[in-house]
């Protein structure tokens, strides 16, 4: 009896032994991942975290984002469908023709970048406040957030105001569009005014690429300049005051316009706020890919083949070289089909464009082997040779591969990659000056101070001064100076030309003065109100 009992016990013990190493620990071990449990603990890590507030701005140099929707809907730039390339479901054509639909992916990219930036600022504000970091850093974050809300206000108008990271309720916007837009305008204004005394007054390299008082004032200038469009009430005097605050900071116009956009433009005395890019450290500025032709890699010895997308609308290009619109010294310029040079105004700012016959690095003419042959639907006017002709044939379906002058504003690097190293200019001194001039002119059309400012810009550009200012030449001068700097759409709406027709665009209505809120966002958040008539 005892024997079997002992035996049974020993069996039971053996059985337990089998289960003894039973381990039930299910905690994760992290190797290549950092989570909120083990990151943001030292000061160095916190500054690295703050860097994201600025890197979020790198979306501005990307294709299919904020810059693209604004520029392609304006009369400056267009992307034509070149046969089988660039149709992409019609999203680019609808921007040019002002036939926006809420399911256009570009709008969602812009919305995502904007709110990604806002979220980052909110989160950092929350985390840094509890850590007791200096007020100046907090002020910088609020200023960056105000810049994001400015873009949201400009593009979408009535957007939800999300300013508290701890508030996890579903964000909503106003039911009435204008009420909502005014609310956002007031927020941006109040934020910038509130942080102004806390921001640094320095404009040196220690504040390069970061928000300081000058940048906040420049942003205020742009905000007030468009106040009538945003809120219905103009604020011309406030525009002048904010501009004066910037002028007092010590900026000056560069002698050479294109130096502001050089590969290394850190030395510009005119750039107030930039987004720094670098081909190694901070990629994403891809205009070299977006605008140049497939064959242009031979011209600049690029390491990647460009995409042949963005081209300049001919009417806009002509505003530079047409002596009736832009009086100045006459010389050889490329117009129309660029077969041979014609005579037109030689404006220094023609450095904004890459136009005319193209050459390889070895001096021979660049060829585009994919050119449209004689039997194709839209034959290339000069055959295999690559020649950017200001004249373009059609937007769809067979736009010329070489059609349209291309963007040359930012200097292209020989041997460059698909990421440019030039720093992207967000706020520039010339813009502030012209804003002041316009505000003065709006208050008093004969104001000599306004004319003087505009003429200083024109003199720098190497063209003749105006005798007097009117809506047309002021509007056109802003266009020529600020090409591709995200101002044209605002100018067109302000001066009332947004609904007009140009190239392939027909006359359109006021619905399109604002972009639709992306459909994906409306679907994901039922308390969002869509913009009127979308």
């Amino acid at each position: 009896m005892k024997n079997t009992f002992l035996k049974k016990i020993s069996v039971l013990a053996l059985g337990l032994l089998l289960f003894a190493p039973a381990c039930t620990n299910l905690d994760e071990e992290l190797f290549d991942t950092v989570t909120d449990k083990n990151f943001l603990l030292t000061e160095e890590e916190q500054l690295a975290a703050m860097g994201q507030a600025y890197t979020s701005l790198q979306a501005l140099g990307n294709h299919a984002n904020i810059w693209s929707i604004s520029e392609l809907a304006s009369d400056e730039l267009v992307v034509t469908t070149k046969g089988g390339d660039w149709y992409d479901g019609g999203v680019l054509i609808q921007l040019h023709k002002h036939e926006f639909t809420a399911d256009n992916g570009f709008f969602n990219n812009a919305w995502g970048s904007i709110y990604g930036g806002i979220n980052t600022c909110n989160r950092l504000l929350y985390q840094f406040k509890s850590l007791g970091l200096p007020d100046e850093l907090l002020a910088e974050l609020r200023a960056v957030r105000a810049l994001w809300y400015f873009y949201a206000l400009d593009a979408f108008g009535n957007v939800p105001l999300v300013i508290d990271y701890e508030d996890v309720s579903i964000p909503s916007n106003e039911a009435d569009f204008q009420t909502g837009r005014t609310k956002v305008f007031n927020f941006v204004e109040s934020e910038l005014l509130a942080v102004m005394p806390l921001l640094s007054t320095s404009t040196g390299t220690d504040r390069y690429g970061r928000m300081n008082q000058a940048a906040a004032n420049a942003l205020l200038t742009k905000l007030y300049l468009n106040a009538e469009v945003y809120t219905g009430t103009p604020q011309w005097q406030k525009t002048i005051d904010a501009a004066d605050a910037v002028i007092a900071s010590g900026f000056s116009l560069m002698a050479s316009y294109k130096e502001n956009f050089a590969i290394d433009n850190t030395g510009s005395t005119e750039n107030i706020f930039v987004v720094p890019y670098d081909r190694v450290y901070a990629g994403g500025f891809q205009w070299v890919m977006m605008t140049l032709s497939y064959a242009s890699s031979n011209t600049y010895s690029l390491t990647s083949q460009p995409w042949n997308g963005y081209a300049v609308v001919e009417e806009f290009y002509n505003s530079y070289v047409d002596p009736a619109q832009n009086p100045g010294p006459q010389g050889d310029v490329w117009t129309g089909l660029a077969v041979a040079p014609t005579t037109g105004t030689v404006d220094n700012r023609l450095s904004n464009f890459v136009v005319g016959p193209q050459y390889n690095a070895d001096g021979t003419r660049t060829e585009d082997p994919g050119f449209e042959g004689a039997s194709s639907a839209a034959p290339d006017p000069d055959g295999i040779l690559l020649n950017f002709t200001p004249q373009n044939n059609e937007i769809h379906p067979n736009g010329w591969r070489q059609g349209g002058a291309r963007i040359g504003k930012y200097e292209y690097e020989k041997g460059g990659s698909n990421n440019m190293s030039n720093d992207f200019v967000v706020l520039r001194y010339a813009d502030v000056l012209l804003a002041k001039a316009e505000a003065l002119w709006r208050l008093n059309a004969a104001d000599p101070a306004a004319l003087a400012i505009v003429n200083s810009i024109r003199t720098r550009a190497g063209v003749d001064t105006f005798a007097a200012l009117d809506a047309n030449n002021l509007y056109a001068e802003r266009g020529r100076e600020m090409f591709a700097e995200l101002t044209r759409r605002q100018d067109q709406i302000r001066f009332g030309t947004w609904g007009a027709g140009w190239w392939e665009k027909a006359v359109s209505g006021p619905t399109y003065e604002i972009f639709p809120i992306p459909q994906i966002q409306i679907d994901a958040n039922s308390s969002l109100h869509q913009n009127p008539n979308f």
Partner: protein, 982 residues
């Protein structure tokens, strides 16, 4: 008690026998071998008078006149013979193929086929697919109803997609759990097809629930061959095979191309396909030795494969060695077994781009640069064109290197002890196994190559990349089994613990700009890019763990009623904090109807039903956290500093996907056991599927969160029938068919809307065109697009207005379902004939009812000016030169139903002499994929269960039915081989 009864009866019968009895003698032999069968029963029918045959098969029995003798033996067909007035009766007994006590491998053990109450299929090595088989998955392709194994195209280095019962999950791992000799999660790359004895598939939830969080997609159990005591044998198998291109995409010849308006004539007539393909010659050698004596058995094998691919410069060579050893000890109470297997593989992968640009190439383009032809550039001597999306395919094949070396090691040790002397019927087992895999990859693109811009990269040209990954997992399991009989009830209990740990790590680097091509990727530190701070270097590591407790009870009541219940409590580190553990129960029951009721003509009939819950885990670890990652660099104080930001929203409620499955089945045997089969009907509901859903950007940090949110329902029917038509000693013919159909419906996708559009068509010009719609309440597999009605004067296709507003808006209101990517049903049909020493096997496979979207046609079957001037044009029967615009639409979706001869083998077994040195010799010839009957004009009509994306590299199970431009060409194989046994 029994003994007394027998004596009494025999005394009684003796008294009867006194009346009219005589003695009958005879010999019972095995009809096939002629050898005597010892231990067979000879019974006088209607009495209990019987005898047992002796060692030589002889018997002697005293019977009465006019008696009928019944001869029975396990595994043989019962014979009844009236003695008439004979006194010597010799009987040759036929093997009863069907009622051989078939044992099926189930989770954590084996079970008698008669007792199985779940849906389990078993394929033995003699039924495997024949011919040149390099991947174990290929062995059972088409052999199991409901198990689809596909590999679109014929890439020898490509992987098979295995799906059981259609689509069960879209977020988590959809491949079945592979178990090799008890090692859970083993990789099929550690097993050579020649070493596999059987593959068992646990098809329904009640069978796989014992594997818990990984059993949702089914479980495949692979059992390798082991040694047999007493018989020492050496086997050698050798095969040589030749692979050729079977199907490609139909593009124009040079003459046809010259007729197309807008064409660019570059003067030559190049057969690009011929330039980049070759006949792939392969050899396989396998030698195995097994044997043992007394308490030790072993099997060792070495497999060598040298495979040539059909793309030039591709193929692989592989060496696999395996050693299985089993040893008993402690008076045969303890059994120790050890399995060791290792594989090393050296491969040259090639690029799918070579095939893609070969079919796309302008047929008048010369291969090598010709200065007299305009519009060409000379890169490395090859002719290149400066147009969008084109590279000379011969240059890619010859000027790029894409190598790899893989190493696999699987070792397991198992100890089993029989405690029957202490507690009757108790057994304990401990096992430990480790699997180690390491992959090394190297790529080099030459300075003289245009592909990947290698001639410009890094300034000097030349791009090198080197990367390696290592994966380890170790498994520890311990179990107790208790088997006992009470009266006519058998009980089998099982309880156990399982612990498995996984670790993956890897690193790599890529740099460009070399002074010479001579190093290829072997001196990557000289890349000029590194000196400029460019180029890239990376490393990573992650781990996870699984812990489980499991138990099962099986009941067999009188061989008539069967009951099985199991449960597994499993936890994984991959889940969120709040949901680490899950419970997975199952229950199933069966009734052996022929034991209760005698139905004429029906030998066996078993009805069974089962219900089980299984789970599925996400592929990656750390998904439930708020994770940070580097988001570029910010310019602070005059220099660049790294910036960090959140990359995922936290979800502490992240849990496994749950699948509940109900299965009803019938196993039958009719016509004297000649026809056997099973029928299954099942319904499975997968809930809490892991899906990324869009979330509002404020207040969340990131625009998408991984949530348990989807629900999927899958209903299906399976039938498999095996028929031994004729079975004589000279001729036999067996045929078997399996048929399966399923239908998957999306019940729930997300919190609102419930529609997803996925699968981008791609460039040129068709970015932002979604090809697939996934909608709540609808079946999975919908291809989405506009319906083409005609062509207008400008060559633009006219699309039908479906929204009723008399115009075609380029939006979803005017698009509709234009195809279904999943099939109506699939069939596998096997025929085996033997005639004397010849054997012939033919296996057909068919899938009916699925569609495929032919991407090549969607881009290149038109006369658009850029398309014509840049590339070749697709030339199928649907080619219409009036169409001058490439827009994917309903005309590019084709019915892809197919019927193919998958493999056919013809063999001859040389006559063998008793006691000869060569015990067995067989030679054979085999052909794989000799013909396919289909109306599909694309490369491969095989079902696409996942979409690889417009650039490859993805596996999206929500978008079936698209043939992408990176599809490898299909191959036709012819092989010859020899099997020798010593």
């Amino acid at each position: 008690m029994k003994k007394y009864l027998l004596v009494m009866l025999s005394v009684l019968s003796l008294s009867f026998l006194m009346a009219q009895e005589r003695t009958v003698t005879g010999k019972v032999t095995d009809a096939e071998t002629g050898e005597g069968i010892p231990g067979a029963n000879v019974l006088e029918k209607g009495t209990t008078n019987g005898a047992i045959t002796d060692l030589d098969g002889n018997f002697r029995l005293a019977v009465s006149d006019g008696a009928t003798l019944a001869f029975t033996f396990v595994g043989f067909v019962t014979q009844e013979i009236a003695i008439g007035n004979r006194s010597v009766i010799d009987v040759a007994m036929e093997q009863d193929v069907q009622s051989l006590s078939e044992v099926v491998v189930i989770g954590y053990g084996v079970q008698d086929k008669k007792e199985i109450t779940s849906s389990v299929a078993s394929v033995k090595s003699e039924d495997f697919n024949k011919g040149m088989v390099n991947n174990p998955a290929q062995l059972i392709q088409g052999k199991v109803a409901g198990l689809t194994i596909t590999r679109p195209g014929g890439d020898p280095n490509g992987n098979y997609t295995i799906r059981l019962r259609g689509v069960t999950t879209v977020g988590a791992n959809a491949e079945p759990l592979i178990i090799i000799d008890g090692v859970i999660g083993g990789s099929l790359s550690t097993v050579d097809p020649n070493d596999i004895a059987s593959i068992d598939v646990l098809k329904d939830g009640s069978a796989s629930a014992i594997y818990g969080t990984r059993g949702s997609s089914g479980v495949i159990l692979v059992t390798t061959k082991s040694g047999k005591a007493g018989k020492s044998v050496v086997d050698y198998n050798g095969t040589v095979s030749f692979d050729n291109v079977a199907r490609t995409m139909k593009f124009m010849t040079a003459d046809e191309y010259r007729q197309v308006p807008g064409m660019v004539d570059l003067g030559s007539d190049t057969d690009w396909l011929e330039q980049v393909t070759q006949t792939g010659v392969s050899q396989i050698h396998n030698i195995s030795m097994s044997g043992g004596s007394g308490s030790t058995t072993y099997r060792a094998s070495v497999n060598v494969r040298d495979v040539g691919g059909i793309q030039i410069n591709t193929g692989f060579s592989q060496l696999n060695a395996r050693f299985n050893l089993t040893q008993k000890a402690m008076n045969d109470r303890a059994t120790f077994s050890m399995n060791l297997a290792t594989t090393t593989k050296d491969a040259s992968y090639g690029f799918t781009d070579v095939f893609r640009y070969a079919v796309l190439s302008n047929p008048t383009l010369p291969v090598m640069f010709d200065p007299t032809v305009a519009g060409l550039s000379d890169v490395g001597g090859y002719a290149e064109r400066d147009i969008f999306d084109y590279w000379n395919p011969v240059s890619i094949a010859n000027q790029s290197i894409n190598d790899g070396k893989d190493m696999r090691l699987l070792g397991s040790l198992r100890a089993e002890y029989d405690f029957s002397d202490v507690v009757d019927g108790l057994r304990g087992t401990i096992s430990y196994s480790q699997q180690r895999e390491s992959d090394m990859r190297g790529q080099y693109f030459m300075k003289t190559a245009k592909f990947q811009s290698a001639n410009l990269a890094g300034g000097l040209g030349g791009i090198a990349q080197r990367a390696t990954e290592a994966r380890y997992n170790q498994l520890f399991e311990s179990m107790l089994n208790y088997d006992q009989s009470f009266g006519n009830t058998d009980l089998a209990l099982l309880g156990g613990y399982s612990y498995q740990e996984f670790f993956t790590e890897g690193f790599g680097m890529r740099g460009a700009g070399f002074i010479t091509d001579a190093f290829t990727y072997n001196r990557i530190q000289e890349a000029q890019q590194f000196n400029r701070g460019e180029g890239s270097v990376w490393s990573y590591a992650n781990s996870s763990r699984l812990v489980a407790f499991f138990g099962r009870a099986n009941l067999n009541i009188g061989g008539t009623y069967f009951l099985s219940a199991s449960v597994r409590q499993e936890g994984s580190t991959k889940f969120g904090e709040n949901n680490k553990w899950g419970l997975f129960p199952a229950v199933s029951a069966g009734v052996n109807i022929t034991n209760l009721v005698n139905i004429g003509g029906v030998e066996s009939l078993k009805l069974r039903a089962g219900w089980g819950r299984t789970g599925a885990t996400p592929n990656d670890s750390y998904l439930s956290f708020l994770r940070y990652q580097g988001v570029g660099s910010a310019y602070v104080d005059g220099s660049w500093k790294p910036a960090y930001g959140p990359s995922s929203n936290p979800n502490p409620d992240l849990a496994w996907e749950t699948k509940d499955e109900l299965d009803f089945g019938l196993d039958f045997g009719v016509m004297g056991g000649k026809i056997t089969g099973t029928v299954d009907w099942y319904q499975r509901v997968t809930s809490d599927m892991l899906l990324y859903v869009n979330v509002p950007v404020p207040p969340n940090l990131v625009g998408q969160t991984l949530k348990n949110i989807g629900e999927l329902k899958n209903t299906g029917f399976e039938l498999s029938v095996n028929w031994n038509v004729i079975q004589t000693s000279d001729f036999s013919y067996t045929t078997s068919v399996n048929f399966s159909t399923f239908s998957t419906t999306i019940i729930n996708l997300d919190d609102e809307g419930g529609v997803l559009y996925r699968a981008n068509m791609g460039s040129p010009g068709q970015n932002d065109t979604e090809l697939v719609r996934v909608k709540e309440g609808e079946k999975l597999g919908q291809l989405w697009g506009p319906v083409m009605e005609g062509v207008d004067a400008n060559g633009v296709p006219i699309f039908k207005d479906l929204s009723g507003d008399n115009s075609y808006c380029n939006c979803d209101d005017d698009r509709t379902v234009i195809g279904q990517g999943l099939p109506d049903f699939t069939i596998g049909w096997n025929n085996s004939l033997t005639f004397k020493s010849f054997d012939f096997n033919m296996f057909f496979r068919s899938a009916i009812g699925h569609d495929l979207l032919n991407s090549y046609r969607g881009f290149y079957e038109n006369t658009e000016s850029t398309t014509v001037s840049s590339w070749n044009i697709v030339n199928t029967a649907a080619y219409d030169p009036n169409i001058k615009k490439a827009v994917v639409n309903s005309s590019h979706v084709e019915k892809a139903s197919y019927f193919k001869l998958d493999n056919a083998t013809f063999g001859y077994t040389l006559p063998s002499k008793e006691g000869a040195a060569i015990r067995r010799a067989r030679i054979y010839v085999s052909s794989q994929n000799p013909f396919v009957l289909t109306n599909y004009t694309g490369i491969d009509p095989e079902i696409r269960y996942v979409d690889s994306g417009e650039n490859g590299g993805q596996q999206d199970p929500l978008s079936p039915g698209i043939e992408r431009r990176n599809t490898y060409f299909t191959t036709r194989t012819f092989s010859m081989g020899i099997n020798l046994g010593f």
